[in-house]
């Protein structure tokens, strides 16, 4: 049975994402970013609730690179020891799947809560 409009296998393999990984991907959705910029962006987007350590960030980046969700991106800062990363097509597609899943979930939850309140 398809759940959230996707096959169960797809959900099982990729989703749900943890909040830090979701925020990292969202941070890279608009433009390529360096490690430090991702760190700060994640903190800002979560209102200071998610503060990643460098070890956690690079662990996540490593896995996202291995799974080809993100890729290294060469820019003028790269030569100065700052490596930028950007979303791949697959990464963007998977991020969109997660967003769709969350939308479906929040819509369902809102409906249920509304029904209960009546």
């Amino acid at each position: 049975m398809a759940l959230y409009g996707m096959s169960p296998q797809a959900i099982n393999d990729k989703l749900p994402l943890s909040e830090p990984v979701l925020l990292i991907l969202v941070s890279l959705a608009t433009e390529p970013q360096h490690g430090y910029a991702i760190l700060k962006d994640v903190e800002r987007m979560s209102g200071g609730r998610v503060v990643l350590s460098t070890g956690t960030l690079y662990g996540a980046l490593r896995r996202l690179l291995d799974d080809a969700w993100i890729e290294r991106y060469e820019d003028e800062d790269t030569s100065r020891g700052k490596q930028a990363y950007r979303l791949t097509t697959q990464g963007r597609r998977n991020l969109q799947l997660e967003i769709d899943r969350l939308k479906q979930l929040t819509r369902l939850a809102s409906l249920r809560v509304a029904v209960k309140e009546r």
Binding site: D13, Y36, L39, T54, T56, G81
Partner: protein, 175 residues
Amino acid sequence: MLSLYRKLLRLYPAEHRELFGEEMIAVLVQEREEHASRKRTARARLALREIAGLASGALQEHVRVRFQFRDGLSLYDGRFTMRNGFRFPKSTAVLMTIILAGVIIAIRKGEVIATTLPPFSQPVTPIHPAHSYLLPGVIEGILFFYAAGLAGWAIVFALRRSGVHRLADMSDQRQ
């Protein structure tokens, strides 16, 4: 502090250090510079967070490399990555049903024995310690269950259904 970070980075597998070592140091330097003008408590929090992050990150990378887990102790879903099927195989339901049936039969037998006993038993004579009889039985029981468990695991391993094989299959599928 930076020298401590560098030492902690040595805990990572060499490949990870080669790929990300300098980048990680650059980020740590930027973090430290940003916190330089802040209160001592904020700087201490940063140091603790980074030390804990580097130590746990190194552990996760070693787990990933050592056991070929592509997600390590995964961040994707914030928990140790195990598939539902792996955690609770269908065969478990069958085994649990068999165990439940065994328990029910044992209860029924107990009830039958209780109803067949005469209402008043003979006076009970003093009971002497029976350790010498019990102990060999307990040891035999433990050995029996140990051997049975070992045999069961050997069968599962021979059928390539052990945890090691399942993890290897998962790894292959993801590749």
